[in-house]
Point group: C2
Chain length 355, copies 2
């Protein structure tokens, strides 16, 4: 691997000195950008966009070309893993993901293979290589996957859910089946993320979108446990480069200490907690990523800047902050407000890194 021209993001993940706070945005390649909507229309659907490396690269690069951002994130979907395990996956127009044949029995789970990423997910590896080539070591590419629990919710519910009755029903009445599923998913995700690393990503993030629907003991048993299993299996020292691992559990701010204890490098925060409180609770063990309310992007550029300044002030004169939203940017945000967010972090953060 060549040296990065801008390694602020990696350095902040590893709690090293930086000249200013690095910034990226969850879902920065997304529907709020008109050029993204054009490419998706050209691709003929979301899943086709994910499966065509040139187009996945095109949308990954769109925010990088528009704004000054310190990291790119692979354009893909967390549900490519269950699809690679043999489950049919569809995205209806405006409908969200559907698995027409959700998992129901122990036998269903036993049948699931652990997919070879170079074979079954070759299009993702192709996208990683194409994007790395387009980035040309200007900034790092972040790879990602869904947490085992989050993937399991979709695979058992058959899609999104409000009450999570099926997946909780399986966890509480067939715990052996659920644990077998989570083990298989953890191992599949670990192999998949290691393949992303081998193909060029410089950091990885695990998205645990649905850990927050669990109680404390269930979160540890069904979600955190398997994220830790992944962290332990990752190639975190690849060709002399440290590969930072970010864990993000939405709604999991009550369990920050336990998340930090998994051995990850960075804990992603949602916006329900003040970042200074999070730092106080966790200490300097890990870096923190976040955590502006994505809803603040509906405010004016001036208000967005005030909020960015407040978060920087709360974090203070320390190493180990990656600026981000507390969740993904939403489709109806005006592009100029996203621009105002990136600009505010860049202009306001240097003062917090002066010696």
């Amino acid at each position: 691997m060549k040296e990065l021209q801008n390694d602020r993001f990696i350095r902040a993940c590893l709690r090293q000195d930086v000249d200013r706070t690095p910034v990226w945005m969850m879902r920065q390649a997304g529907r709020y950008l008109p050029e993204y909507r054009a490419t998706r229309a050209k691709a003929g659907g979301f899943l086709k966009l994910c499966k065509t490396p040139e187009l996945a690269c095109e949308v990954t690069m769109q925010p990088i070309e528009r704004f000054n951002i310190d990291a790119a994130i692979l354009f893909s979907d967390i549900l490519v893993i269950p699809e690679a395990m043999g489950m049919e996956l569809t995205f209806g127009a405006g409908e969200g993901p559907k698995f027409p044949s959700p998992l129901q029995s122990h036998a269903d789970v036993e049948k699931l293979p652990i997919p070879d990423p170079e074979d079954k997910l070759g299009y993702v590896m192709g996208a990683v290589r194409t994007i790395c080539s387009a980035l040309d070591n200007r900034i790092p590419l972040i790879g990602f996957a869904g947490s085992p629990w989050t993937l399991a919710t979709y695979m058992v519910e058959g899609g999104g859910s409000k009450n999570f009755s099926k997946v909780k029903g399986m966890a509480f009445t067939q715990p052996k089946t659920m644990h077998l599923l989570l083990e298989k998913l953890a191992d599949s995700v670990a192999i998949y993320l290691n393949a992303q690393i081998a193909n060029g990503v410089r950091a990885v993030q695990i998205f645990d979108t649905w850990g927050g629907i669990l109680s404390t003991s269930d979160y540890k048993e069904f979600s955190l446990n398997y994220m830790q299993r992944i962290v332990q299996q990752l190639d975190r020292d690849y060709e002399g480069n440290k590969i930072p691992v970010i864990l993000y559990s939405k709604g999991g701010m009550g369990w920050l200490e336990s998340i930090a204890d998994t051995g990850c490098d960075v804990v992603g925060l949602d916006w329900s907690i003040d970042i200074d409180q999070a730092r106080e609770r966790i200490g300097h063990k890990v870096a923190l990523q976040g955590n502006m309310d994505p809803g603040m992007l509906y405010a004016s550029p001036e208000r967005i800047r005030a909020e960015v300044k407040d978060i920087l002030r709360r974090f203070g004169h320390h190493n180990g902050h990656v600026f981000n939203l507390g969740h993904g940017i939403t489709p109806d945000v005006p592009v100029e407000n996203a621009a105002a967010f990136f600009k505010a972090v860049q202009e306001e953060s240097a003062q917090w890194h002066q010696k």
Copy 2:
């Protein structure tokens, strides 16, 4: 007011001695009960059910007749307040609530009146009196209302929402308009709850379903602030009876200390926090209500009992616990599992109250 035959619920709210832990369930009168579905069909829709005191009484009493429960809760909807303020409200089949003309401008908000509950919400007061007569002082009736912030989300979004773009947009770009709306709602809710008290409810709960979508400072500014304004206006000593006030902010477990500081009697917990942790953080200032994961009702009666025992053990030998779920029971729960929940609390809790 006559004395209650069973005052366990009130005594626990006030942190007094009880022989066993009182229990009720959010949405205990609801779709999981076949007799509820029959009454709703007879009424010809959800809103008609709310507006017909005899039928609202019928469904309120259904779980009381089926199970051994320590409190009844008024059958109604939080959105009757905005409707009483003049906003058209519809419930389409399986669609959730809709306000076809949501609030958009400062002028829209200025026009809203503070409704006289005996006039505009007379059907609720009629339901309260009818239910109290049916209960005949066997157990207390709990009244309720939505929090101002939660009501505002529906009034500005026009219904349910995923990203809350409109209500956050208004809060962040037109804060004066939002504060005027929240003030009017707080005063409307306070007058409404006082009318419920005058008609016979023995406790009130404020449901803050959507406070948890805010950051810490925004929660305090837009949600908690106005719940406190209500708490201060309530008739909490009515004809010699203490009327306990319960505040429940779903997703607000990061702010427990601030919720307890409003002067409420009881803090309602969702299931994201262990109840012993909550008690440790708050101390004995207030009673706690909760907090089993409603999803645990998809498990077996044995597993439900084990969970109930664990929550009782965590709370330990103290006064001030009202057993409940951490959120409402969902429509697809088997009735026998709800029965198992009530039975487990009744059979397992006495040992924690022995001197």
